[in-house]
């Protein structure tokens, strides 16, 4: 059987009809010979009972987007669990710097209102207000986030009112997020909710202009394993200034001034495209979809960014840095290619990684046969051009849409931000460089499978069909994969390694993947007493 013969219907056959019908729409095969890209269903409810990888809105809002803002004290309002599980578990690294002294970092702390039964019955507003008062008194934070968990909406606690009153008492921003776990269908709802509040309550509230000839913001990069730092190192060598990331190693103190940047880079399209778009509308900052995962991808991205400013010196400096970095890593990469070449993989993850890592894996000579997202929307698979055609349903409707318009004071047209002519700018937009993302599909291997919200059953079946050499996944599936006799790498947490970005990161990744593939234990699963004579040493 060749890859293109894979029959999705057969794979799903054992499922109950209703489930099968539902799931069939989430699975698409890449057919390079077809003229069009097929439609995939995404961002819809998971069938109850299915063993999904998905999390919830709170995880997307607190865990992914607002939790990493290092100088904000984030209180989870609810019973103890949600704060507990999102405490120190995501590797969004943060350090002290000019913006944030050591005593203003809360990254290793966990704050929960720890609601009890009586709070559920009588309401938790007073408890929350009291806790805000106490943490302000103890910690003197610059600003506070309040994140809601499931019961909050149901019992009707008015976070807006509590926050507003506390703001008045304490004179610091207290920003609340109605990111109850049941909102939407996945973490994605939480991203959107977080984006909205960051846009409304943070960006544009500062008055300090970021110094620098080329000031970039870096959206949708969470600095997992130090990814952002490695990217910043390269960008700064070329001559860029990073105003703020959103939200890896970011600070409220700098997010406030993001509106003064020249260009927004978007790494994780899914979690942050709302802000990218809104900033374009409101402040005139154009955005560029980037990918620093993979050597070629990084080179392309660096060239794209230089192109956005069009400065010759910048372009030359870009090439110089590329050349130097490349020379340093090529021998190492080649060493690991020997182990990796010809191997195949699956990749299931949130964000844009299932797309991004395909570039890096190709650098190692590996191909991704099956790729999927936990919480993507159709545009992440099919490209932004399908956005207007996406129908909103009951689940997406309950996430508020912000409607921004150009800011009367702070709007500056994009071509001026980039210091170029309107024509040149229009050309960049028209050629799909700026304000555009084409999704994962175009980069999938022919015959490969694109799968949305993959579940345990399907993974097991797809493994039987494709017999991949390695699965990139999360902790929930990591050990399942191992029990199947297959190596896995956590591609949320990098198995506590990293950074994996840019050139040096590619080497670290290559080493980690090579080790996973070749660790001697794989050959020792069958004990000698169960081996046939010929197998035995």
């Amino acid at each position: 059987m060749t890859m293109t013969d894979v029959n999705i219907d057969e794979i799903l056959a054992p499922m109950p009809d209703k489930v099968k019908k539902n799931r069939r729409k989430h699975i698409v095969k890449k057919d390079a010979s077809a003229g069009c890209r097929p439609q995939i269903e995404a961002n819809t409810r998971t069938v109850p009972g299915i063993i999904t990888q998905r999390g919830c809105s709170y995880a997307g809002c607190k865990g992914v987007v607002v939790g990493p803002i290092k100088d904000m004290l984030t209180i989870t309002h609810g019973p103890i669990g949600c704060a507990y599980y999102s405490w120190g578990t995501r590797r969004n690294k943060a350090r002290t710097d000019d913006s944030t002294p050591p005593d203003q970092i809360y990254s290793t702390m966990c704050f929960s209102t720890d609601m009890q039964e009586s709070d559920i019955v009588f309401g938790g507003e007073k408890k929350l207000a009291k806790m805000i008062d106490e943490v302000v008194e103890i910690f003197h934070p610059r600003a506070i986030n309040i994140c809601a968990t499931c019961p909050i909406g149901l019992i009707g606690d008015d976070l807006g009112a509590v926050s507003k009153a506390a703001e008045e008492r304490h004179g610091i921003p207290i920003i609340h997020y109605n990111c109850e776990g049941y909102k939407g269908v996945s973490q994605s709802a939480g991203h959107h909710i977080a984006n909205n509040q960051i846009m409304e309550r943070m960006i544009g509230t500062g008055t300090e202009k970021v110094d620098g000839k080329y000031v970039l913001n870096f959206l949708g990069e969470y600095n997992i394993g130090g990814d952002a730092w490695e990217i910043e190192r390269v960008l700064e060598e070329i001559g860029y200034t990073v105003g703020s990331t959103l939200t890896g190693d970011s600070a409220y103190a700098t997010i406030k001034n993001m509106h003064t940047a020249h260009l927004n880079l978007v790494q994780c399209h899914r979690s942050i495209n709302y802000i990218a778009e809104m900033m374009e509308t409101k402040y005139g900052i154009p955005w560029l979809k980037v990918n620093f995962i993979g050597i070629d991808a990084t080179i392309d991205t660096l060239r794209d960014i230089a192109q956005c400013f069009g400065d010759k010196e910048l372009i030359a400096r870009t090439e110089l840095v590329i050349e130097r970095e490349l020379a340093a890593v090529t021998p190492e990469i080649e060493r690991y290619q020997k182990i990796c070449r010809g191997k195949t993989a699956f990749i299931f993850v949130g964000g844009s990684r299932s797309h991004h890592y395909q570039f890096l894996l190709r650098n190692l000579g590996m191909e991704v046969m099956v790729a999927g997202y936990e919480f993507a929307h159709r545009d992440d698979y099919e490209g932004r051009e399908v956005i207007p055609t996406i129908k909103s349903d009951a689940d997406s409707k309950n996430i508020p849409e912000l409607h921004v318009k150009p800011d009367t004071e702070m709007y500056r047209p994009p071509h001026l931000r980039l210091k170029m002519s309107q024509e040149k700018y229009d050309e960049l937009v028209a050629s799909g460089v700026l304000n555009e993302y084409r999704g994962m599909y175009p980069d999938m291997v022919n015959g490969g499978i694109m799968i949305d919200d993959a579940n345990h059953f399907e993974t097991e079946e797809l493994v039987k069909v494709f017999k991949p050499d390695l699965i990139f996944t999360g902790i929930k599936d990591k050990y399942v994969t191992h029990k199947m006799g297959l190596p896995s790498k956590q591609i949320h947490s990098y198995d506590y390694s990293g950074p994996y970005t840019c050139f040096r990161g590619a080497v670290t990744f290559a080493k980690d993947v090579a080790h996973s593939l070749s660790t001697p234990a794989w050959k020792m699963i069958t004990p000698p007493w169960e081996q046939s004579i010929t197998e035995q040493r």
């Binding site: 069938v47 009972g49 299915i50 290793t108 702390m109 966990c110 720890d114 609601m115 029990k483």
Partner: protein
Amino acid sequence: MLECTPKEPLPKDARTTGSINPIKTCQPVGALYAALGIHGCLPHSHGSQGCCSYHRMALSRHFHEPAMASTSSFTEGASVFGGAANLKTSIKNVFAIYNPEIIAVHTTCLSETIGDDMPTIIKQSEIPEGKYVIHANTPSYHGSHVTGFSNMCKGIVSYLAESDGNPKKERANIFPGFTNPGDMREIKRIVTEMGVPSIMYPDTTGVMDSPVRKTYEMFPRGGATIEAIQDSGNSKMTLSLGAWSSDEAAATLQSKCGVPGVPLRIPIGVKATDDLIMAVKKGFGVDVPEPLEVERGQVIDTLIDIHYQYEGKTVAVFGDPDIVIPLVEFLITMGMIPKYVLTGTPGGKFEKIVNGMLEEAGIEGSRVKAEGDLFDLHQWIKEESVDLLIGNAHGKYIARAEDIPLVRVGFPVFDRAVHPLMPIVGYRGCLRLIEMISNVLLDRRDRDCLDEDYELIL
């Protein structure tokens, strides 16, 4: 590290609400873990997807093992109109697609807040012949992961255990408490070594410490079988290990099937292990075999030989009450000074029991707190430091901030591997604890001493 924490002790009334750096998490994760101790069981989380995801992650990180579970995948609609439909669909789909022997449903703060009536929903669900669906109520706004574990244990008993009315069998039920599979194996070994047949449940051995095998098995070979659990109603007694995690289930089994429950501590330390062995000896009239006596003697021998390596050192201990209580007792046995003792799990008797032990040992000036958190502990340490921390991985922040060695014990330990396979219970567990504690203190001595005090023999 932790520089945001106030340097000076806070006024007494500075903190009255909420938890900062908790020493507990919510009930469902305990229920999920307990359910994994039934062979062929798929735990099911009746709530949002996030709960199930978080719990599976926590368990997999601690055990380095799959922690399979399904979810009712609540959306806003279900939250408003009730989750019955989601649960019924879940049950149908789970049996159809994953084919477990049993589904163990636990609730969440969400389904509890909306008031889903579990028994009724389960009754109305399609359950294939010979399969089971059981449940436990585990609202996250009550108790902790430990009580969640307890609630599921109780649920298992309520749904499954049966008495056939015949004379009880010469067999012990063992409720092992919220412990690692390595501990459960060791507890079973001790009882087996005494010649007494036993049924342990929940029993996560072979599930959360399962070997890799030639072929993948979604439901590993371990766990207590439903048949064994059913038959537990015919056992002569139940060894109920851990008041917080096991006693309610034991009481339920006693009232349901007339199996007397013997309340014991989780056998951490010499005394708690002695108590377990004496309970078995008395309950079944068996003698203590030589191997156990040798193991015990080796522990006492070691305590005598190397007491100077740790005696008189001060310790802060935090974690689950059923672990911390016998652990504190063992530290006292070692001649150490448990200076700060905390749990996050509610329950006033924790303070009473620990203070009682300290008082009996003549140890003064210690602080004990139930419903405490690591922020409390850190404040205390800033007032007066200790020589050693013992607790879960969250203690590592204080360990670094205050440069105190940490011995990792309890749940969760996310940053070290192998430990769930290694018992801290029984006499063998004593040796492991002694080794961990003495090694970490000697490592510190070797690290901190001057060159001229760096010694070959210690």
